[in-house]
């Protein structure tokens, strides 16, 4: 199924497709050329990669912190774990709608409480400014997906061999040394899995961009997937959309061996450690 669909997308990317009577016209690499020169694909790809790196990086850091707190099994961590599931379980489009309402400079809670706390004097127009719009988009992704990362890492923390941890403690490993040389190496396969899964998911993000900014202000938050959505779903420009999708696919295919190598490396590391 995957191969046939993939081959067809690749094939159709060399045609200008008109489904309404004019037939398909072979255009060679014309669609690819148009995608880069007329439809800003390079800029959209750079924005996509920046979004993925930033969002996934922060999610791994925050998710790791949360995982350690939850793994301590302190009072209230059970409830906290359940609460963490809420953003993860929410439909992305709904999350984006909620964020849009919260960020409204006229009536949103965020500006209201920032002003009430005296942190700002004028409302922040979150979605009108490219920088703050990106803060909102990355913030939404972090809110939605950090619980997912935290749950994976918590499973990793809870599966760490007690004897190794205790032996390290007896040998005097404390604080940063313990984290750097004992905990992180043991946790690394889980970090790799969370990172790889999130990277692939983050590349696919489109809902939050559609609902929150629709690529604006101007085109400053237009990512590759949003461009594909517009071309294929809104315009029925199948060939051009397919060409754009092929470029994204090639990027992901190029990235996949690297990501697999990361997983493999840490899996080897774990086997070695065990």
């Amino acid at each position: 199924m995957t191969v046939v669909a993939g081959i067809y997308v690749f094939y159709i990317s060399f045609f200008r497709v008109n489904g309404f009577g004019q037939g398909n016209q072979f255009v060679g690499f014309g669609n690819f050329q148009d995608a880069f020169t007329t439809y800003s694909l390079l800029g959209n790809l750079i924005r996509t990669i920046a979004f993925v790196v930033l969002a996934v990086g922060i999610e791994l850091a925050v998710g790791g912190f949360l995982a350690f707190q939850l793994a301590k099994r302190l009072r209230g961590t059970g409830i906290a774990g359940i609460l963490l599931l809420i953003p993860f379980a929410m439909t992305p489009a709904v999350s984006a709608m909620i964020f849009r309402i919260l960020l409204d400079p006229s009536s949103g809670w965020i500006d209201h409480y920032l002003r009430s706390a005296g942190l700002i004097s004028q409302p922040i127009q979150w979605l009108s400014n490219p920088q703050t719009a990106w803060v909102a988009l990355v913030g939404l992704d972090i809110w939605s997906w950090t619980p997912f990362v935290a749950l994976i890492l918590m499973a990793g923390i809870q599966s760490m061999p007690r004897d190794v941890l205790e032996a390290a403690s007896l040998d005097g490993a404390r604080g940063w040394t313990h984290l750097r040389y004992i905990t992180l190496p043991l946790l690394s396969p889980f970090i790799a899995i969370a990172g790889v899964l999130r990277t692939i998911q983050a590349f696919q993000t489109v809902d939050s961009f559609l609902v929150l900014t629709n690529g604006g202000p101007g085109g400053s938050t237009t990512v590759a997937n949003l461009s594909i959505y517009r071309l294929v779903v809104q315009n029925f420009s199948i060939g051009l959309g397919a060409a754009t999708a092929v470029v994204v696919l090639i990027l992901l295919l190029a990235l996949t061996p690297l990501l697999m190598r990361i997983i493999g490396k840490y899996a080897e590391h774990e086997r070695g450690a065990a």
Binding site: A5, Y8, V9, I12, R16, V17, G19, F20, G21, Q22, G23, N24, T37, T38, Y39, T91, P92, A93, A96, M97, D104, P105, S106, S107, D111, Q122, P123, Q125, L127, S128, N129, Q204, T205, V206, D207, L210, V211, T213, N214, G215, G216, P217, G218, G219, S220, T222, N225, I228, Y229, R230, L231, V232, V233, Q234, N235, F236, S237, I238, G241, A242
Partner: protein
């Protein structure tokens, strides 16, 4: 529109927008359907523009007709209400399926491209039609047929000319062209003799109208204060100069009150349609892209118009803080909660009970002329249907778009397409009590308004404009440069989809 998305619709304005809020999985599924449909291109219809040839007889009556409609448009409720009567009068059952905007467009395009449509009647947003001219049944001969119109008062001359020509009259092989005289009374013979065809019948017409807080405008205290400040009476603004004064007067940020809302968000139905209205009112081409694919978004009139719009936000500061991201829903929320004295949108407005006010409607202000944007919908029939299904589908849409059916749809807020229906609305006390003077103002607006540019791959073409306009809103010192860049990008896009003669109008 909600969708969201693009089409300014009363349904969208009421918060049921068809804005694009699909999950990625839905997007992937739709894209898959679209790709699948493209695989069937080899089976699709020929490229030659078909002549209208209505069946000479009705033929066997189908057990039922299938109709695809837009769930977010106000005609959907009205059509649902009158379908039982259609069955009684025509003897045919119409099964209606409603869909949100994006899903509707994808399904419509995929089915029509496949050449084997599974519906007999499709509701069509006007910007879709340039792409679909070769797969829709030409209806001029149907309108002229006595057999097919038996028991139906088709009366084409009753359609509002601008609405009918903009929505339903097309040059099949050159769909970017507008009918040469869009104010002429609708006459099927003239349309055909001019080389145009009728590709559907209009059912819904949304135009940008100005709504204002009537209670504030009629308040003696406000009137005295306004006269003291500006030396003239407080009246509903007819011109943009008057509009600025009134908006400044009512802007009281400390009370959470602003003069007006705008639809400045980066969406076709928001900033681009506002732009169309502004450009037309400043004397420019309200279509923005003309019939010869000349892009008129950076003409002196267009630049002046958008500089003024941006000034409303940045210089006069008469808009709420969300102006450059606002869409239909935000404008409604601001106005209904009493935080704006004026607003513009595509349907009747309401106020929260706690506001204790009343609402009036007026034409969008002008600089040199009125030119509100309007967006319309029509019912069309696929060309690839058996003759008897086309004949019965035609009878159904002729009945649904007839004056009697449209009048019956008024209580559910149909934005009618016939002059006689507006006349009825004006004379109907119940409609006036429900919607105030909305219908007379809508009719006026349709008479002077401008539809969308007629280009294939519409969303693709206007996307650089949407982005450029929104960028200009956020960089007020550089409006002209942003518009000039948007004009060049739009031209490039037009060329990339085959409009090799595209140009930038100066």
């Amino acid at each position: 529109m909600t969708n969201i998305r693009r089409a300014p619709s009363p349904g969208a304005a009421l918060g049921t927008t068809g804005m694009p809020r699909r999950r990625f999985i839905q997007y992937a599924a739709t894209a898959g359907a679209a790709l699948g449909a493209s695989a069937l291109v080899g089976c699709s219809t020929s490229t030659k523009a078909p002549a209208s040839k209505a069946p000479s007889t009705l033929g066997p009556k189908p057990a039922s007709l299938q109709m695809l409609n837009a769930g977010t448009q106000s005609d959907a409720a009205g059509v649902t209400a009158v379908l039982p009567r259609l069955k009684d009068e025509l003897g045919v059952t119409v099964n209606m399926q409603n869909m949100a905007y994006d899903a509707l467009q994808s399904k419509t395009f995929a089915e029509l491209a496949s050449g084997t449509p599974s519906h007999d009647i499709y509701i069509l947003d006007t910007p879709w039609t340039p792409t679909l001219t070769h797969v829709l049944e030409p209806l001029s001969s149907y309108l002229a047929s006595t057999t097919l119109n038996k028991g139906i008062d088709i009366d084409a001359a009753d359609f509002i000319p601008k609405v009918f020509y903009d929505t339903s009259v097309w040059k099949v092989d050159s769909p970017s062209l507008h009918y040469p005289d869009s104010s002429a009374t609708v006459d099927v013979h003239s349309i055909v003799s001019n080389g145009y065809e009728i590709l559907g019948l209009p059912i819904q017409s949304n135009a940008l109208t100005l709504a204002y807080r009537k209670d504030l405008f009629e308040s003696p205290a406000e009137q005295r204060a306004f006269k003291a400040r500006f030396g003239r009476d407080l009246t509903v603004p007819q011109t943009w100069d008057e509009f600025v004064q009134v908006a400044q007067f009512f802007t009281r940020p400390s009370q959470g009150m602003y003069g007006t809302t705008v639809l400045g968000g980066a969406q076709e139905g928001w900033d681009f349609c506002d732009f169309k209205t502004m450009v037309a009112s400043f004397g420019g081409d309200g279509h923005i892209i003309n019939g010869n694919t000349g892009v008129a978004c950076a003409t002196p009139q267009a630049i002046a118009a958008w500089e003024f719009y941006v000034d409303l936000i940045d210089k006069y500061k008469v808009t709420p803080p969300n102006a450059t991201t606002a869409g239909w829903d935000q404008a409604i929320a601001t106005f209904s909660s009493g935080n704006a004295a004026m607003t513009w949108n595509y349907g009747p407005q309401s106020l929260n009970p706690s506001v204790h006010g009343s609402i009036g409607y007026a034409l969008m202000p002008k600089k040199v002329q009125h030119g509100p944007h309007f967006g319309t919908w029509q019912f069309g029939i696929p060309a690839n249907l058996p003759a008897n299904r086309k004949a019965w589908a035609y009878r159904a849409i002729a009945w649904l778009t007839g004056a009697t059916a449209q009048i019956d749809m008024l209580p559910t807020q149909l934005h009618a397409t016939r002059a006689s229906v507006f006349d009825h609305a004006k004379a109907d006390a119940a409609i006036t009590a429900q919607y105030g003077n909305f219908y007379p103002v809508l009719q006026q607006s349709l008479g002077v308004g401008y539809g969308r540019p007629r280009v294939k791959d519409y969303d693709q073409v206007v996307q650089p404009l949407v982005q450029g306009l929104n960028s200009a809103e956020n960089s007020s010192s550089n409006v002209a440069a942003q518009l000039k860049a948007a004009a060049q990008s739009t031209k490039k896009t037009l060329v990339s989809i085959g409009y090799n003669n595209a140009s930038v109008a100066s």
